[in-house]
Symmetry: C2
Subunit: 334 residues, 2 copies
DNA sequence: TTGCGCAATGGCAACGTTAACATTTGGGCG
DNA sequence: CGCCCAAATGTTAACGTTGCCATTGCGCAA
């Protein structure tokens, strides 16, 4: 019916309703100082013309976009979907939107992400760090642009939030030692992964805190295949009764590798993974693993920006612990 | 050094560089009608003040946002991450950004997604449909807002793009029949899933095209657990030599269910999945499955919007076929 | 020398919205 | 009956950018 040519502005609505533009604006914002019958007349005009407030005009006037930018160096990655769920949920709660930007192909620096964002309609930004950016130490966030980094590393000028990888390893090692294992073997991941290195460090330090010298680790590459190979290697090590794999895929692979060498899980060797990413893919067996709350990580980041509103809230660092989920791949030796 | 209070505008740069605002604007757009030395002076001023063009002012003037909105009813879902990778990649290519919006909690209608988007700074929108929206038939996209639906269903007013689920089932069934199997059993998914129902329809029709009456299907719920149960049921069916599961998790579960009843895969029964979502989680065995190119789906959607620019390009429907990846879970009976 | 054309730059207005201030109207009260 | 206050509505200006047109300055041809 009401065919729209260009775009309908407050002016058009005002003309049709026979009021001033200001009254239209007040009606849009449901101001109490407009008579109900006037409001209704204005609303009718808006409906008839199909009026939609123009975002650009509004932001220009307000100096705010009600949008949080998310910069990712690579989109695909464990937990990113859950994090996005968190971003979107928190944004929704505050009436914000999320603007997603891929910073792939550009240099792996915070500056690169920041300058990309600066041209976009965002009030604050979140950067998901998978690796160590070259300028982590020297980076300064854009003035007026609240910046949150998703990483365990603390930054002096930006708030940070992440899963507590260190605590994760601590929980796993304590758990296994508590079940009577004398030591815990470790299947690591490629060295460029920040979170992986933190898991490794947590494993090492927790063992040392118990006066146990960490055994030689087996380096994996996140794939089940590498876990399989690691399992075969560790099957020949008589001191190995408990294995902590850096992710679930390697843990599953490791189990098969152990079995291929005649070891039973958990009777002979216990295995623990991290991520709870695969669900119960092996239906009659549940992997003992650590479940992270990536959604909460995402929500925290956006809450920090959208919740701050005017007041420039200070720099905060948040670590969100995972939960060890007991399955049936660990044997109690006590 | 150059501490910025509020925000730096062309006016500030113009004053510092001793030129007009217009010349600043021309410099930003690298117009040939500005003397190189003037340009350099302006650029120096921009650097000194830390000038960033204001998005709102620019969009207001231009009437364009260079942004594509993506509406999702639920973020978590197989393939969404790859699709987002596609959105972001295509947006990057065109100099666009992606604005992500969760429409969860609101009614499952296209109208709801559309009205949510209309208040955001976007030039076009993509809606990811998992289920059937109540208003699919009656929906009209917002005037001036190019709308692309991610679904196999064709819409008269909106372009659509999706994986070709029908073709996927066709490929799988043809492949299995080609290997000498007399029929193909099917593990389905919950009825509310659009893509799942299309896979089911494709299975049924392809069998019928060969004059084979489709056997009774076993209904699953996407989980490995349900696949396990289905495998146990089908293990007792002597006519069952080939099973097509609606996703990989059920396929893996099914294999374990069959094995728990003494059937070997692929010697006794062949199993094929869909999605290629789990990687080679079982290291010494590769599931035969169908790999979809969700990234391409995402890119197509954003290309359609960002590539159109001014010209209102017509409604198009695109189906992107998956690729059957041969593993070692199918036996050739010939 | 004068006039013309081109290159470089400046002035102005408008995009749509809304805060701040101005104005009108109606009603209560001295 | 007149005054004042409050409620309701209108007017103006500004947010930052850029298209359009005007202006300036310069070299070259007449």
């Amino acid at each position: 019916m009401a065919a729209v040519k260009k775009s309908v502005s407050v002016k058009d609505v005002a003309r049709l309703a026979g009021v001033s533009e200001q009254t239209v604006s007040r009606t849009v914002h449901d101001s109490p100082s407009v008579r109900p019958e006037t409001k209704e007349r204005v609303r009718a005009a808006m409906r008839e013309l199909g009026y939609r407030p123009n975002f650009a005009g509004r932001s220009l006037r307000r100096g705010k976009f009600k949008t949080v930018g998310v910069a990712m160096f690579n989109i695909t990655g464990t937990g990113n979907l859950d994090r996005m769920e968190g971003f979107a949920a928190a944004a929704d709660k505050h009436g914000y939107a999320i603007t997603l930007t891929k910073v792939d192909g550009h240099p792996y620096t915070l500056e690169s992400a920041s300058s990309r964002m600066s041209a976009l309609p965002v009030d604050g930004m979140v950067v998901i760090m998978n690796r160590m950016p070259a300028d982590f130490g020297s980076f300064e966030p854009l003035p007026g642009m609240q910046t949150v980094l998703v990483t365990m590393l603390e930054h002096p000028l930006c708030s940070t939030v992440d899963n507590d990888q260190f605590d994760c390893s601590h929980q796993v090692v304590e758990y296994l030692l508590g079940q009577g294992h004398k030591t815990v073997h470790f299947i690591s991941c490629p060295e460029r992964s920040l979170s992986g290195m933190q898991r490794e460090e947590g494993w090492r330090e927790t063992l040392r805190a118990h006066g146990i010298e960490p055994p030689r680790l087996v380096r994996g590459d996140w794939t089940a295949q590498s876990g399989y190979a690691a399992g075969q290697v560790l099957a020949d090590d008589p001191t190995c009764t408990a294995i902590y794999a850096s992710n679930d895929a390697m843990a599953y692979g490791c189990i098969r590798g152990l079995e291929s060498r005649g070891k039973r899980v958990p009777e002979d060797v216990s295995v623990v993974g991290v991520d709870d990413s695969l669900g119960d893919i092996v239906p009659d067996r549940h992997l003992t693993t650590v479940r992270f709350d990536n959604k909460r990580v995402g929500m925290w980041a956006v809450d920090k920006i959208a919740g701050a509103e005017g007041g420039a809230s200070g720099v905060e660092h948040m670590l969100i612990p995972g939960v060890l989920v007991e399955g049936d791949t660990v044997r109690d030796l006590r």
